[in-house]
């Protein structure tokens, strides 16, 4: 095929360009998030005191942590979906959010009686938490990778990792509807570990899936 003919066929009946990455990523997260919420509600059930807790600062500190991690992931995914963009802002946000939670964890551990510290760290569900977060992030991860594949990610592994952070944040937030743990040492370890699992999975998958 001659290049001139190719160009003709491309511009034939040209229509205005469709929506950019932002809209597709948000739409994908909504769809994947809905699946994750459905899983949590049917398989695990919401935490008993959800209605009471949702009014409190503790609940929103936890939700804020996971939501902000997800927001950093969304930002990064949107950036890395385009060529020649800088991911700095998203990386800074994620690091800042993690550092803030880490500081809170240190403060809580320092202020707690020594025999309570182990409990603050392990809670009741540390063996289960990270895995649940990772599993709940999978629907959003799958959709996000599918969306990114249709954009122009020139750094496939990093774009995959960004998708992992985004979906990990969503998965962790959704899991928070069911999980009553709220101690900062617990969150910064086990929730973060689940999100990190999603980041690693996204990076690995990105290397292979985000080829175009």
């Amino acid at each position: 095929l001659k290049t001139d003919e190719l160009i003709e066929s491309l511009v034939h009946e040209l229509r205005p360009a469709g929506a950019g990455p932002q809209a597709w990523l948000a739409l994908g997260a909504a769809a994947g998030g809905a699946v994750a919420i459905a899983c949590v509600l049917t398989l695990l059930g919401p935490r008993q005191d959800l209605a009471d807790a949702a009014g409190g600062l503790v609940f929103w500190t936890k939700a804020g942590y996971t939501i902000l991690l997800g927001a950093a992931g969304y930002w990064l995914s949107e950036r890395l979906a385009r060529p020649a963009t800088s991911p700095r802002g998203g990386v800074l946000l994620a690091s800042a959010v993690f550092t803030a939670m880490l500081c809170l964890a240190v403060v809580q551990l320092a202020g707690a009686p020594p025999d309570m510290r182990m409990h603050l760290w392990l809670g009741h569900s540390w063996t289960f938490c990270s895995r649940a977060v990772l599993l709940l992030s999978l629907p959003v991860l799958a959709v996000t990778l599918a969306v990114l594949r249709r954009q122009a990610p020139t750094r496939p592994m990093w774009a995959g990792a960004a998708a992992g952070l985004f979906s990990g944040g969503v998965g962790a937030t959704v899991y928070g509807l069911s999980c009553p743990e709220s101690a900062a040492p617990f969150l910064v370890t086990w929730y973060t570990l689940g999100v990190l699992g999603s980041v690693v999975l996204g990076a690995l998958a990105g290397r292979f899936v985000l080829r175009w």
């Binding site: 491309l10 469709g18 060529p83 020649a84 963009t85 080829r211 175009w212």
Partner: protein, 181 residues
């Protein structure tokens, strides 16, 4: 010159995004000439893959144009796609090979495939000796360095420099002659 090209490409791109087929055609045609130069500089001018890569990149630029952010410059965006296609090509052929760093600063070059210039240029070049014509094409049109052009023809950098200088002088006289006619 690079800024003029950037402005021109950006304006074509913006109109193409809005659905202006003529602008989009202009954009892709002008970009095709730039891409041909970009890829042949890195793969060799006779490499058969050059045109494949040009087409692949055009398809990507067109199909993924929604990823262009109108507030951002066009050149780095297009260069990012071309570079990705080049790296992908290398990776398929020789996995694990190092990828040279290149920058978008020299991605767009002036006077490539300008249809109004090319016929005159060809006529003027036709008056040069074989070696002189090749030197002009390699250095002035394709953008090789004198050392690279010399290596290609098995002569020293100095000899390439002298040869090019004579060729340019002859070319200038010849172009002046064309204008007078």
């Amino acid at each position: 010159v690079a800024n003029d090209l950037e402005a021109e490409f950006r304006s074509l791109m913006t109109r193409g995004l809005a659905g202006d087929a003529a602008a989009q055609r202009g954009l892709l045609s002008a970009l095709a000439a730039q891409l041909r130069l970009y890829f042949s500089r890195r793969l060799g001018p006779e490499a058969p893959e050059v045109e494949d890569l040009v087409q692949e990149t055009l398809i990507a630029v067109h199909g993924r144009r929604a990823t262009y952010d109108r507030r951002q410059p066009f050149t780095p965006w297009a260069h990012g796609i071309a570079r990705y296609k080049l790296i992908d090509h290398w990776r398929r052929r020789a996995p694990g090979r190092d990828v040279p760093i290149d920058d978008h600063a020299d991605f767009l070059t002036a006077d490539v495939g300008d249809p109004t210039v090319r016929p005159d240029l060809d006529r003027a070049l036709a008056g040069l000796s074989g070696r002189q014509r090749e030197l002009v094409e390699d250095v002035k049109l394709e953008g090789l360095t004198l050392a690279e052009a010399g290596r290609r023809h098995g002569i020293s950098e100095g000899a390439a420099k002298v040869g090019l200088h004579r060729a340019m002088k002859a070319l200038t006289e010849r172009m002046r002659g064309l204008e007078d006619r």
